[in-house]
């Protein structure tokens, strides 16, 4: 088995359902060394996918292998794999060092103490390692979970919403860490519902919506898909009706609706639209008060991606 196979996670037509609810629907992907972000709104199926990759859930249909073997009912896979679950529950009565050292012992590492201190150092938690986890902030608990997942130096790291609760500085430190690990040839898979987190981490993005793989590629490819979609803006001005009449004749504008909150403008070319609207207002002596994208929520972006 070569190094790439050893680090690879492969899903072939994987589905998972709970009763009548389909959580993951016919997903096929190969995840190799580097960073892969699973991006999608809450409830999209990201956790179910990661849980299946970690072997804590059997696919209802399809095949899922980690380093060439199914992870379900194969705890041996954790020699290669580290998991940072989303749930915040850890053994709160242990100190951070106790917790990570215990994990090192469960992995039967030769020097559990040294491995634990090394992993704690990587996540910058040495100062707090002798405190009970119950006294940690959410971000600190998140980092000690990452330390425990890293303690055996895994080739593959699965992280479910790893940046939850971390402050921006901690987030950057973690992102740098994951990028370094990816450059060393490791496979890092993380889930997020926040576009900016995924944007910051270079690598492949798998967009999951409604249990399906909606799009995949690098961030720029995903971004292009998003920017070329129709945008809806809410525009408020001193003369909404006049501005609406002027806008409707522009090629970049595909629809205008006068609403009590202002003008709702649909555009297929938001770059041109945002440049033109200023000129139109100036020419017509209209005071422009607000131009606000009304559909920038991630969910609307995702639903667009699914529809295309």
């Amino acid at each position: 088995m070569n190094a790439i196979e050893e680090n690879a996670i492969e899903l072939r037509h994987v589905s998972r359902w709970y009763g009548n609810v389909v959580a993951v629907n016919d997903v096929s992907m190969t995840v190799g060394p580097g960073i892969t972000g699973l991006l999608g709104p809450n409830g999209a199926g990201k956790t179910t996918l990661l849980t299946m990759m970690a072997g804590f859930l059997a696919p209802s249909r399809g095949e899922l292998t980690v380093a060439g073997q199914p992870s379900w009912r194969h705890p041996g896979v954790f020699r290669l794999l580290g998991l940072v679950p989303e749930r915040d529950s850890v053994y709160a009565f242990l100190t951070g060092l106790d917790f990570v050292r215990s994990t090192a012992k469960l992995h039967r590492l030769a020097d559990p103490d040294a491995a634990a201190r090394r992993a704690i150092g990587i996540v910058n938690m040495a100062d707090a390692q002798d405190r009970r986890i119950s006294t940690y902030s959410k971000g600190m608990r998140q980092r000690i979970k990452v330390a425990a997942a890293l303690v055996h130096d895994p080739r593959i790291l699965l992280l479910d919403e790893p940046f939850n609760g971390m402050d921006p500085r901690q987030r950057l430190v973690m992102m740098d860490l994951f990028e370094r690990m990816a450059q060393e040839g490791r496979t890092i898979v993380f889930s997020s519902h926040i576009l900016e987190e995924v944007e910051r981490m270079s690598g492949t993005i798998q967009v999951i919506v409604g249990g399906r793989l909606a799009a995949s590629g690098d961030f720029r490819a995903i971004r292009r898909l998003m920017t070329s979609r129709p945008h809806v803006f809410l525009v408020r001005s001193s003369a909404d009706r006049a501005l609406g009449a002027a806008l409707i004749g522009r090629p970049a504008v595909s629809g205008v609706e006068l609403t009590p909150r202002g003008l709702q403008v649909r555009t297929s070319d938001f770059g041109t639209f945002t440049r033109e609207i200023a000129g139109l207002c100036k020419d017509g002596g209209i005071a422009l008060r607000e131009v606000r994208p009304s559909d920038e929520s991630l969910e609307s972006v995702f639903s667009y991606l699914v529809a295309t």
């Binding site: 959580a23 009912r73 749930r87 053994y91």
Partner: protein, 242 residues
């Protein structure tokens, strides 16, 4: 041995149990047992009260209830709050996890159930008395067999305490008294049987021979642990955000 018993799992489980307020709950029932025993020692005149009280209250209430609370929580509490993932996201064998959790439950039940039963016997009759030794032997057997059953239940259902109570009240308490055959499948009867084989007193109301009791207890323990291991090997995380 180390394949079966994982010292890290055992240590974390004991720390979790003894560090929580739950330890106070564990201590409640044996405290009542010892309190009543002291009281009876002072006021009771019947010569059979130690066997009657410690046989009935000890083997029908103290040991089963203590085992129920402990046995369902050693794995059940971690499954409920999700912390079990940190244990299972390692290559440690599922057999080792079950045996270590079971061992922790047995140790705790001996501490909070069997030793108080022995001390109560000693208060009533003295340390060297046949009844005291019999009560200890029966209590040790109960600590093992009940916990195997309750650890298994905690892996089979999220309502392990309710199901365990049903078993104790309906199967052992009600049907065990009405139908003779049920006694062969009653952990309470195994412990009374073993206790009586040493104490030899009709007041213990035993229906099984020591041989039958021990063979059945071993069979029940092995069978329930085997089911627990099988169940944990297929442990599935319930996705919160599927």
């Amino acid at each position: 041995m180390s394949v079966l018993l994982n010292p890290v799992v055992l240590r974390i489980t004991l720390r979790a149990a003894l560090g929580r307020k739950r330890a106070l709950v564990f201590a409640l029932v044996p405290t009542v047992l010892l309190g009543i025993t002291v009281l009876l020692k002072l006021v009771a005149h019947s010569p059979v009260w130690p066997a009657e009280f410690l046989g009935v209250f000890g083997f029908s209430v103290v040991l089963p209830l203590t085992s129920l609370i402990i046995g369902t929580s050693v794995l059940g509490a971690e499954i409920d709050d999700g912390s079990i993932v940190h244990l299972l996201a390692t290559p440690v064998s599922r057999l080792g996890v079950v045996i270590s959790k079971f061992a922790a439950a047995v140790i705790l039940t001996i501490l909070f159930g069997a030793i108080p039963e022995f001390l109560a016997g000693a208060i009533a009759k003295g340390f060297g008395d046949r009844l005291t030794i019999g009560l200890l032997a029966g209590a040790l057997l109960a600590s093992v067999a009940y916990n195997a059953l309750f650890v298994m239940l905690s892996l089979l259902t999220t309502r392990a305490i309710a199901v365990g109570l049903l078993y104790l009240l309906v199967w052992e308490g009600l049907l065990g008294n009405l139908i003779g055959g049920v006694r062969v499948l009653s952990i309470g009867q195994y412990s009374v049987g073993v206790a009586n084989s040493i104490a030899h007193t009709s007041a213990l109301n035993s229906h099984l021979t020591a041989r039958t009791a021990i063979i059945m207890a071993v069979a029940v323990t092995l069978a329930t642990l085997a089911v627990a291991v099988r169940r944990l090997s297929s442990f599935a995380l319930k996705g919160e955000s599927v």
